[in-house]
């Protein structure tokens, strides 16, 4: 049994034009200590997947149409809010993209870490304080004792993201979901934060689900990768395999977009067209309208995710020919 088991997860949103499916038939496993990367363009459904797992989407307008999420053997989908509260922050934690707005501006960072511990463990205020200091130390905030009383606006973006991580890890979760944890940060700080996440994984043995649109982040951190497009998983592979031998045309397109030193410096490669809106997704393969290899059969039915071997799967009907 894996730590996290997601099966056929489908989430829809009620809109003025009827119900729109945001993510569809998402299935994957995540093992203890593993780092799973989820990559895709903005709007591909990465964050919705993460928020559905956490049960953090406001319902309504959101609705889990079908599918299930099991965490450590417990069914999370349909679980009562009170029971979910016990798992959030303690079993599964989450770090968000925007460190500037994700911390409460009127509470000290010490209090924001301590209240997480307080919500999940019956320990004294003194011990909560010690835990907060320990966590700040561990994420590399210098003179942690002195900074407990600081407010978020007194810290830089990188420091705030470290505080977010300290807060998320304060109760030793078994799974950390990091939604674009470095997107809002300077490049040098990005590398530091990623290194920190990997060190903490080694130290604490937790699993990490890292969501990003940046292939570089995936290459640096992930063990295994899911590629998402327009609400569906289009390819799934171990990280080295994905970079070596991408099967799905979309994945290839994404990898071609990463600039290299050798290429013509005046041109950036881009995938033609743009991601379809959730309400206007084409029939059949959703990538077909942007795909250079499309044939008529591509638009006939949604291609299923087919395993080419034990660890690698792609959702393209032409995998055999193109590979």
């Amino acid at each position: 049994m894996s730590l996290l088991e997601v099966r056929d997860l489908t989430t829809a949103f009620k809109t003025e034009r009827g119900e729109v499916t945001a993510v569809e038939d998402i299935s994957f496993d995540l093992d203890e200590g593993e780092i799973l990367g989820i990559v895709g363009e903005s709007g591909s459904g990465k964050s919705v997947t993460a928020l559905t797992i956490m049960g953090l989407l406001p319902q309504p307008p959101a609705r889990v149409v079908r599918g299930s999420v099991h965490f450590a053997g417990e069914l999370l989908t349909g679980m009562s809010e009170t029971r979910l509260e016990r798992i959030r922050g303690a079993g599964i934690s989450m770090v968000f993209q925007e460190p500037m707005t994700s911390l409460n501006p009127v509470l000290t960072i010490g209090e924001q870490i301590m209240e997480t511990v307080r919500a999940h463990e019956a320990i004294s205020v003194r011990d909560q304080r010690l835990r907060a200091i320990e966590m700040l130390d561990r994420v590399g905030i210098p003179s942690a004792v002195r900074r407990l009383g600081d407010y978020p606006h007194q810290m830089s973006g990188g420091q705030r993201q470290r505080v977010m991580i300290a807060m998320a890890l304060a109760c030793r979760p078994r799974l950390l979901i990091a939604d674009e944890p470095t997107t809002a940060l300077d490049v040098t700080i990005q590398a530091q934060v990623l290194d920190l996440l990997m060190d903490l994984r080694d130290e604490l043995g937790m699993a990490i689900m890292i969501i990003t649109h940046n292939m570089g982040v995936i290459a640096e951190t992930a063990d295994r990768v899911l590629v998402m497009y327009a609400g569906r998983i289009v390819e799934q592979a171990p990280v080295a395999r994905l970079f070596d031998r991408p099967l799905h045309p979309y994945t290839r397109g994404l990898l071609d977009c990463v600039p290299t030193l050798e290429q013509d410096r005046n041109r950036l490669v881009a995938i033609p067209g743009s991601l379809p809106e959730p309400a206007r997704r084409p029939a059949g393969c959703r990538f077909a309208p942007r795909c250079g290899h499309r044939i008529d059969a591509c638009s006939a039915a949604i291609p299923p995710l087919v395993a080419v071997d034990a660890s690698h799967a792609s959702a393209c009907i032409r995998t055999d020919i193109l590979a």
Partner: protein
């Protein structure tokens, strides 16, 4: 912090100066003067002239003004022509009545306005939300004297539960104070309750959408803590600004309510003073009331700094 308050106090001086100049000028512009009130309808022109001379009203406008400001600089606001009492004494007697009434109305406003606003925000777009906002709109739309009259008819005249008017000081008889103040306080507060409920609702909705609320939920905090601690602490910052304005509105709004319920407060005192052209009383009473309102505004700003650490640290 103390420096900021001192600066604000210094900044209040020009405000008070301007207010007193306007009051002084306006009172002289209204037709009629105290002599006709004191002399009565049967007074001869000679008698009127004598009264004017006694009061110093025959002197040129600027000389009168200079004398008034000179006295003010010595801490002397003069005597009320009508009451024969000194202005400061009369104000100190009446202002506590208005303040007690306003404080009572403020408590009603904050308790009902804040609670219904928070509640409506948490139940956005449900029947509860719509009902709360309908009552808020009703509170804003119904003139407070009209509501006061309706309450007098129902609770005082028909049911006989409460007196139709009058006032008993809290220090004399707390129960009597409640009996005489409740209807005036409700009629005074109703508009502000509606206003505060609507503003609280929209502020809370805005705050509940923020990223840090999602973070708080992701940490597994119970909903109660997320709303009461994380959301409300942030929403209180803009709400405090509104409450500051409401305090001023309550104090100035008490004029009508005091008249309706025959409560001997500042509003009644000043209304009488204006009607009788009691120059010193109007000038002094308004100046003292303004000074008080300015101090309340400074207190609100101080609260603001307490609630928002970003403001606190920006001050030198």
């Amino acid at each position: 912090m103390a420096g900021v308050i001192l600066r604000r106090l210094a900044g209040a001086v020009p405000v008070l100066l301007i207010v007193s100049l306007i009051t002084f000028g306006m009172m002289r512009l209204i037709p009629g003067d105290p002599s006709s009130v004191i002399g009565g309808l049967s007074a001869t022109p000679a008698q009127l002239a004598q009264i004017r001379a006694d009061l110093g009203l025959d002197e040129p406008f600027f000389l009168q003004m200079l004398k008034w400001y000179t006295a003010l600089a010595h801490g002397d606001l003069g005597r009320s022509i009508l009451l024969g009492q000194d202005v400061v004494g009369a104000t100190l007697q009446r202002l506590p009545v208005t303040l007690a009434l306003s404080a009572y109305a403020l408590v009603i406003t904050v308790v009902f306005g804040l609670c219904s606003g928070v509640f409506a925000a948490l139940r956005q777009n449900t029947v509860i939300d719509q009902l709360a906002m309908m009552f808020a709109m009703l509170g804003i739309s119904v003139p407070n004297f009209f509501l006061g009259l309706l309450m007098i008819i129902l609770f005082a005249v028909r049911l006989g539960w409460l007196p139709t008017g009058g006032y008993i000081a809290f220090t004399d008889d707390p129960v009597g104070w409640l009996r005489t103040s409740t209807m005036p306080a409700i009629s005074l507060a109703l508009l502000q309750v509606g206003l505060l409920a609507r503003i609280t609702r929209s502020t809370m909705l805005e705050v509940l959408r923020q990223d840090y609320i999602r973070t708080a939920r992701a940490k597994g905090l119970p909903r109660r803590v997320v709303v009461m601690k994380h959301a409300l602490a942030n929403a209180l910052i803009p709400i405090t600004t509104v409450v500051g304005i409401i305090v001023s509105l309550l104090i100035s709004g008490s004029v009508v309510t005091e008249t309706l319920f025959s409560i001997p407060g500042m509003g009644q005192l000043l209304t009488q003073a204006v009607l009788n052209r009691d120059y010193p009383m109007v000038q002094g009473g308004l100046l003292l009331t303004t000074a008080f309102l300015v101090m309340i505004n400074i207190a609100v700003d101080a609260c603001y700094a307490l609630l928002d650490p970003r403001v606190r640290y920006e001050s030198p």
